[in-house]
């Protein structure tokens, strides 16, 4: 099922949580809404589900306008961060709940509901736990039951709100892989919310980066990481370094010298240069490079982070070197970013 969010605005008590957001979600896609807290990602998910109503704009499921429909009519599977399992029901009853509350002819027989529940338990690899209560399960198991429960109603869209947020790192990584497998097997259009960029980049077909109620960028993990389109995405996703620069004659300058980067299309004047600390080339001499004195050097896992002081203004910038690189021992290092981008001064 394709989902189209068209110019949706949401205000809580006149405070805007989303500003005119538009997003096309492709059928069968696994898409992540990624952003810091307060970015509006959960609000967007709840709007798609029908747990909130948009102040303006519309949400389409395929060609039909879903924003006029109640949550029951939308037929979405929603998985909550804290599972929201019904604690007085067994695992099987939890999974069968969505079928049991159907009316009249659409309600399957009790036997059929049981069969369906145990089929879904198979899918989430929890067979044999039908009779258990949620309190008797681990966090990871509960989230699997919650997913099975959401899938039992054959939802048109599967929506997951920070599905692994309450779990510890080990279980998280495991469930991440498992969710991807389930998605590939069942083909549900799936939207999940996360503040964990590793989770988003690893799991999703496309990532929607959000900040302060707006969508900053939509793209694959490669797009987002390699060509961030704003300073926010640069600094929010992965490591980044930035330096204030000047553009003159189609070249990038720091103080009074060009640093060997061509920017023929950038408007002349002040700008900020962004690059990845590890995506730099080290140079020996310096005619057209960034050179600085080593101010600090730290060993971080497999690499060495070197902090440099650049030029007379003593701007600090961080680059990453291989651990055994001889430059790390020197007092002066010259480099040039391989991939970089200029943004206007904010």
């Amino acid at each position: 099922m394709e989902v189209r969010v068209a110019n949706v605005r949401k205000e809580f008590e006149r405070f805007p949580a989303l500003h005119d957001v538009s997003l096309d979600i492709r059928s069968g896609e696994l898409i992540a809404l990624l952003g810091p807290s307060g970015s509006g990602k959960t609000t967007l998910l709840r709007l798609i589900a029908g747990l909130e109503r948009p102040t303006r704009g519309a949400i389409f499921f395929g060609d039909e306008d879903a924003s006029q429909k109640s949550i029951q009519e939308r037929n979405v599977g929603f998985v909550f961060q804290h599972y929201a399992l019904f604690r007085h029901m067994t695992v099987a009853d939890n999974i069968g709940f969505g079928l049991k509350v159907r009316h009249g002819a659409t309600r399957p027989s009790a036997q059929e509901i049981r069969r369906r529940a145990s089929e879904l338990l198979d899918l989430v690899q929890l067979s044999g736990l039908e009779k258990r209560y949620p309190a008797q399960l681990s966090g990871g198991q509960r989230q699997r039951v919650a997913l099975a429960r959401a899938m039992a109603i054959e939802p048109r869209v599967l929506l997951l709100d920070e599905p692994f947020g309450a779990l510890d790192a080990q279980v998280r990584r495991e469930l991440r892989r498992w969710l991807r497998e389930i998605h590939d097997r069942t083909g549900h259009t799936t939207v999940f919310v996360t503040h964990d960029q590793e989770e988003a980049l690893e799991l999703a077909d496309r990532v929607v980066v959000m900040s302060q109620g707006r969508i900053e960028q939509v793209g694959t993990a490669d797009d987002i990481y390699d060509t961030p389109n704003s300073p926010f995405v640069y600094s929010f996703i992965g490591e980044s370094s930035s330096l204030p620069v000047k553009v003159e004659n189609g070249e990038v300058w720091i103080a009074d010298r060009p640093i060997g980067l061509q920017a023929p299309h950038a408007p002349p004047g002040e700008a900020v240069l962004y690059f990845r600390p590890h995506d730099v080339e080290l140079l020996d001499g310096c005619s057209g490079c960034i050179a600085g004195t080593v101010a600090a050097s730290r060993r971080v896992a497999g690499t060495r982070r070197v902090e440099l002081e650049i030029g007379g203004e003593r701007q600090r910038v961080e680059i990453e070197l291989p651990v055994d690189h001889p430059a790390a021992q020197k007092s002066r290092v010259a480099f040039r970013p391989r991939r970089w981008k200029l943004f206007p001064v904010s």
Partner: protein
């Protein structure tokens, strides 16, 4: 999922650390005072009630309880409880639902209003009904013209009882429902349940022990209420006397055995309530809200 490291910093409840433990004599004095106090002010009167009731033998006791006026008082008390408790359950659930699950203007006011019967003397709540429904009252004329009798009759007693008991269920459920939040209901709705199904299958089972606890306290108070009921009942023997009122009448007539026999029934009710309350707290303490002991 508590981290064991963090857990070990919590104070130990079983064995207090040496620094806060008083010397043995001090401990004995403190505990002794508490026990003596309880014995004199609670246990002794309870024993006296049963002692006086049985002073002239078991025969006199059962005879006192089988008098027609006493039987009618017992019946009336049961009837009043049977009407007012269910009504307060309905009221308590809706009030708690509204306060815990919705945001609306005047919510704080509603919460305060629910506590009103706790802060108003029961006699005054009785008097309010006299002022409203009495012969000279606001609605007195209209009621008489339509042949409706409220005051000095069963409806008045029921109204007064509802007034004094309505905080019990609501007060028990509000913190419980607030703590549980809307997550479970949202999950039920997203699975296609109607509002009513979500309430019946999800909300109600989630609060059932708290509800039972509230009903228990509400029932005890409904059967034992004296002040408010005394004002509106008119003390008509065999007609509008509840058990607590009947105890007073018998006592004023120097019928000690009769008075204490009926009182022993009320005391028995209190003991049963206490035992059930303790059992509920022991088994479902976590599911019953933290605000206890009205």
């Amino acid at each position: 999922m508590a981290d064991p490291e963090i857990k070990s910093y919590e104070p130990h409840h079983e064995s207090q650390s040496a620094a806060v433990t008083e010397s043995r004599p001090v401990r004995w004095v403190v505990m002794g005072t508490a026990f003596v106090f309880l014995a004199v002010f609670l246990l002794l009167p309870l024993i006296v009630v049963f002692h006086e009731a049985l002073a002239k033998g078991i025969g006199a006791y059962t005879e006192a309880l089988s008098g027609p006026d006493t039987r009618s008082a017992i019946r009336l008390t049961l009837l009043v409880a049977a009407i007012s408790v269910p009504l307060n359950v309905i009221f308590g659930i809706s009030a708690a639902w509204a306060i815990a699950k919705f945001e609306f203007k005047g919510k704080a006011f509603l919460t305060t209003l629910i506590d009103l019967p706790f802060s108003v003397s029961p006699v005054i709540s009785g008097l309010v009904y006299v002022l409203l429904f009495g012969a000279q009252g606001l609605l007195g004329e209209w009621l008489r013209a339509h042949g409706i009798v409220i005051l000095f009759a069963v409806p008045g007693i029921v109204l007064a009882t509802i007034f004094v008991t309505f905080p019990f269920v609501a007060r028990e459920l509000i913190p419980l429902m607030q703590e549980q939040g809307n997550g479970d209901e949202e999950a039920a709705l997203s699975l296609g349940a109607t509002g009513w199904q979500a309430f019946w299958y999800v909300t109600l089972p989630n609060v059932k022990w708290g509800l039972l606890y509230g009903v228990l306290l509400c029932n005890a108070r409904a059967m034992g209420e004296f002040g408010a009921v005394s004002v509106v009942s008119g003390h008509i023997r065999g007609l509008t006397n509840t058990m607590p009122l009947h105890v007073e009448i018998l006592y004023n007539e120097y019928n000690a055995v009769g008075a204490f026999a009926v009182a022993s029934l009320l005391a028995g009710l209190a003991l049963v309530t206490l035992v059930l309350k303790t059992l509920l707290e022991m088994r479902y303490g976590a599911e019953i809200a933290a605000t206890r002991g009205h």
